[in-house]
Symmetry: C2
Subunit: 244 residues, 2 copies
DNA sequence: GTCCACGTACTGGTCTGACCACTTGACCAC
DNA sequence: GTGGTCAAGTGGTCAGACCAGTACGTGGAC
């Protein structure tokens, strides 16, 4: 049995999550005013510093605007929130949000080839060696979860090779959304991470230093699973429509 | 003279910025331990809650790891930080960081066409109308700063049309990095935002609903300025090399 | 009557000091 | 060695106080 570290949620964490939930799940509309810190503290049965900490974190994420002397108001997260909010929006309301999942798949399909092209442009022998190592690790296991971990590590190397901070940070944010669901996604991602051959082709293309070839190879890695997942999501959506 | 709202930096803000600076500008390496909250409070001459608030915000950004009972340690921001850190990294150390600026331009060139393609796929007459309105606004001014604002608003509409939360959040993060420097960038961006014709072509392509045409049109909008800016950045870099 | 100044009652901002909960590492008994 | 114990240091939380800024009603000046 894989023992898990016990999770100890702090009081401000709890408050943060509750307020966040109200904001992203629609309990509080944009422009609406939050209760005062004192009032919130009273209602939630915690101290004011705890509430304060949570609200400051909300402000940092651009989800609320706090004005000294005035009320703290909710901002439109669709308009202002950053990519770091993605994990939270993906699991909105219990299960995965199909719309959000779709958007992540689409984004991946756009960004992956772009990063691969940059990596091909900039990478040298060292990058090729690192990629080869990563793909060997991928080939060395049969377990779907492990394969996903190795595939993620592979892309990590690609992003490093692209030598782009913007893409690196994007990748970090996307990974933060992806990793928690990694085990649950094992069955649906098996198709993709099992294609060791496609990864080898991509590796060779990047190694050759030709951006266009690398772009195409990356698309060949990502496209199949993306398409079938999008189809599955659409079917799911239609099922839901019928239920109404 | 354009009066600016006075900036009232709060104490935790100040602490946050200082610690953030230490972390991203290399004063503190990844893995290193921060001074204790009490010690930091003493050294900075502020109360412990103020320090605490700042550190919690650092933790939220995945820049430090705080462990109850143990020391707070610095994490590797290149590996864990999200896209929301981009603005801060762009202006590292006084001026713009050329490497980071380059990466943003490259990312823009990858994402813009991708978003345009999605918008073409999904948008209807309403999107076309909104885009036309945005491009008309762009055409209606000669001022380079205003043009940039309108171009940004235009892309905002495109992103809306793509109906993708992931791209929307990415756009928000990138805009947060771009907007503060908007005025400073007016001269170098003039070339791009002055090409009203290219925007009209893009608008028409999206309106027609053909993803590939839209992708190509978006690239024609973004490519020229991207290329010349990248060249300029490279030249800048070489100048700096020679100075050494 | 209209308008503006002002006071009041609220909001968030900050501090102090205390105590609890947890981790670490040294020490000690086995 | 192994495991238990304890003290010291760390973050976690709280209560209460006071400062600083904003919103709004009320009054007086015109």
């Amino acid at each position: 049995m894989p023992l898990q570290p016990v999770s100890r949620r702090s009081v401000p964490d709890e408050v943060f999550d509750q307020v966040l939930g109200e904001v992203v799940d629609g309990g509080l509309e944009a422009g609406e005013a939050l209760p005062s810190e004192r009032r919130l503290a009273e209602v939630l049965g915690v101290s004011r510093p705890a509430v304060r900490e949570a609200l400051q974190r909300m402000a940092q994420t651009r989800l609320v605007e706090v004005r000294h002397g005035g009320a703290t108001t909710v901002r439109d997260f669709r308009r202002y929130a950053g990519l770091d909010l993605l994990p939270r929006l993906l699991v909105r309301g219990g299960g995965l949000d199909a719309t959000v999942a779709r958007s992540i798949l689409e984004a991946r399909l756009v960004i992956g080839p772009g990063v691969a092209a940059l990596a091909a442009e900039r990478g040298g022998p060292a990058l090729l060696a690192a990629l080869t190592g990563a793909v060997d690790a991928l080939a060395g296991t049969e377990d779907d979860v492990e394969r996903q971990v190795h595939a993620l590590a592979y892309w990590d190397v690609v992003v490093d090779g692209a030598d782009s901070l913007a893409f690196r940070l994007m990748f970090n944010s996307l990974r933060a959304a992806y990793e928690p669901a990694l085990e649950a996604l094992a069955p649906v991602m098996a198709e993709e991470v099992g294609q060791v051959g496609a990864y080898r082709v991509l590796t060779a293309a990047i190694g050759e230093g030709d951006p266009d070839t690398a772009r195409a190879a990356a698309e060949r890695v990502l496209r199949p699973a993306t398409t079938s997942l999008l189809t599955a999501l659409r079917a799911l959506d239609e099922t839901r429509q019928e239920k109404r």
